[in-house]
Amino acid sequence: MWNLKAFIKKEFLHISRDWRTLVVLFAIPAVQLIVFGYAISNDLKYISIGILDKSKDEISRKLVAKLAFSDFFKLNALLNEESEIEALFKNGSIKEAIIIEQNFSKKLIREGKANIQLIADATEPNTANMAVNYTNAMINSFLTEINKQPIQSPLFITEVKMLYNPTLKASWMFVPGIIALILTLISVMLTSVSIVKEKEFGSMELLLVTPLKPVTIMVGKVIPYFILSIFNITFIFLLGYLLFNVPVVGSILTLYFISLLYIILALTIGIFISVSVSNQQIAMMISLVALMLPTILLSGFIFPIENMPKWLQVLSAIMPPRYFIDALRGIMLKGNSFAELWKDFAVIISMLLFFIIVSIKKYKSRLM
């Protein structure tokens, strides 16, 4: 026991001496939260547009003014000819061109019908889609305005209720994912590297000839990162709560329980990697490629799994972070209880058992 304590102390010294890594570890969640929380939203603002007003009459001028002064659009070009549009699209100065046809007012008043043509740059499909929708809505409201008729009640209205995240804050969606990302980073990458490092520098042999048992070495290696992880997730919870009011609807106890379970799983995977490889570079590449990429992409963190092709959905089913993120979102946003999340717990525990058994087998043949 005394041995273990001394060993943990040594490990802590190693970690605290490496201040750059520590800074990055705490800076990553903070910056990610801020970037995701403030920078990523779904409502477009200031879509750059160009307007070609072929009729230049009273009504069309009013419409141009309305579009130009709205918050959605930034009028970047007033065009004289249709041929100018191409160049503006090509140098990216407009995303949408609005073409008002000739004799706009006349047609509108006499025939009751006039045309407006929109050309949208669809290199970004969703932006183009939304830009056209906004323009459409704007033109419709313009029509009711100029007719000065009392606003006709619409055919039907849809009442939408966004469950679990009523104001659609991106930060609410990202906090659980960032926690998974950080835990993977600390627990898998740093642990695996820290053990391999001793191997690479040859100090592992020195450790093995000390009276320390191999188990003690492993446990001693893992405990500092375990503690660091707990600090870090608490930091992320607090940051999310203070900056963006990310709630924890469910029980905090369950939240920590699943997090601890996942940390242990991640640490075990880290050990598994470190007993399997021989140098730091490989350990880092494996944890980056085999774990970071799936954590970010295949876990439903940013991109919904049901949009993916079948073969990727199957691949995502064997990714540990997927179940962790699912459980985190369940507890934090939906308020699910332990009983409702039994599937996620079951999967994580069985993965944990699997990696423990495999690591022990590998470890015996490698270190002894």
Partner: protein, 372 residues
């Protein structure tokens, strides 16, 4: 000159001798293009949706069949009540539920507008929720023009403005055409920035940099010789990625490839300088990986690679003035999808050149200080 060539020769030998390096160089583009492009998509095809139909009328059936008819949705069985529907959302069985209230049709017949429809959406993924809702809304809007309502003699407004949208460059909204250029950007950036930084740090960590310092090799020769191989490799990666993009996803490649490679060459020098700068800040490879991972993450998220720049606040647009990736993402899409020419990308080109000169100066200055 000869000295630089020797260092380059040494670097190439080391790169190709490294068991890890070659698989990474060849696997990275393949994995990224196959997994990333398929995984990173907001192209909705399978929005799982269910109805709660309290009305059971022809009109409500019409709504349901309309949704079923579009190819965005997978329509599940009708739910008997709202509470059942909420439970289905909670258990992740459906993403959205449309509730059609009682007397829906009756209100239409008695002209008591507006008719109300409730939509419940699982907003755990807020981006997904917004897009799903806009698809549902689009279908509802199209129902307005259906015969159904015209037959019901709803009073048409006196004036109509017909809005005719047309989409350029990616008319079929193919998300892959949008993602592939972005992934190519990531590929080039990863190779030049990360490997560039790691490469110099390794000499530091292993201690061989001291040996190199006592040789007559000049600093600039060392830096050029060390980084030039990665300049070639990054260009090679781009060529490889473009080939895969063309073969697998049939990306248009409208513009001039010469222009793309010319711009990329400058961009890579900028990234390599950044890598060199990072390598002067850190002591070992682990730190280099973490630090470059950190910067890359911020740059990538802000660059408009995954989300559109229009949805970001003004201050981020200003930060993006010094974000190399923002320029490169824009230029890549402009050249590949729109066929922009040199004159169109000139402002971006100038910006990248200025950043490059600045970064190179900074990195070389810092490098000299740490070494000396």
């Amino acid at each position: 000159m000869r000295v630089i060539l020797f260092i380059m020769q040494k670097e190439f030998i080391q790169v190709f001798r490294n068991r890890m390096m070659l698989p990474i160089l060849f696997m990275l583009p393949i994995v990224q293009l196959l997994i990333l492009v398929n995984a990173a998509t907001y192209e909705m095809k399978n929005i799982r949706i269910a109805f709660v139909d309290y009305d059971h009328s022809t009109l409500s059936k019409h709504f349901i069949s309309k949704i079923k008819g579009s190819n965005y949705f997978i329509v599940g069985d009708n739910q008997p009540s709202v509470s059942n529907a909420l439970k289905a959302i909670d258990e992740n069985k459906v993403t959205a539920v449309i509730v059609i209230p009682k007397e829906f049709e009756k209100r239409l017949k008695t002209n008591s507008f507006p008719l109300k429809i409730q939509v419940l959406i699982d907003a755990i993924n807020s981006v997904n929720a917004t897009i799903s809702y806009s698809y549902i809304n689009q279908i509802f809007l199209s129902i307005k023009n259906d015969n159904f309502f015209v037959k019901q003699k709803f009073i048409q407004p006196a004036q109509i403005i017909n809005v005719i949208p047309r989409y350029r460059y990616n008319a079929d909204f193919d998300y892959k055409k949008y993602m592939v250029p972005g992934v190519l950007v990531m590929l080039v950036t990863l190779i030049s920035f990360m490997l560039g930084a790691l490469n110099i740090v390794r000499e530091k960590e292993v201690g061989t940099i001291e040996q190199l310092n006592v040789t007559p090799i000049k600093n600039y020769q060392f830096i050029i010789g060390k980084l030039l191989p990665f300049w070639f490799l990054a260009l090679l990666e781009l060529a490889l990625g473009l080939t895969i993009g063309k073969l697998v996803y049939n990306i248009p490649l409208v513009g001039s490839l010469t222009l793309l490679f010319a711009f990329t060459s400058v961009y890579i020098i900028l990234l390599l300088s950044m890598g060199l700068f990072v390598s002067t800040l850190v002591d070992n490879q682990q730190q280099a990986t973490l630090v470059s991972f950190f910067f890359l993450m911020v740059f990538i998220l802000l660059s408009g690679l995954f989300t559109s720049l229009e949805s970001m606040p003004r201050w981020i647009q200003y930060i993006n003035k010094i974000n190399p990736l923002a320029y490169y993402v824009a230029v890549m899409r402009m050249i590949l999808l729109k066929g922009s020419r040199f004159i169109n990308i000139l402002p971006h080109f100038i910006a990248v050149c200025i950043l490059m000169i600045f970064m190179m100066g900074l990195a070389v200055f810092k490098y000299r200080k740490t070494i000396g």
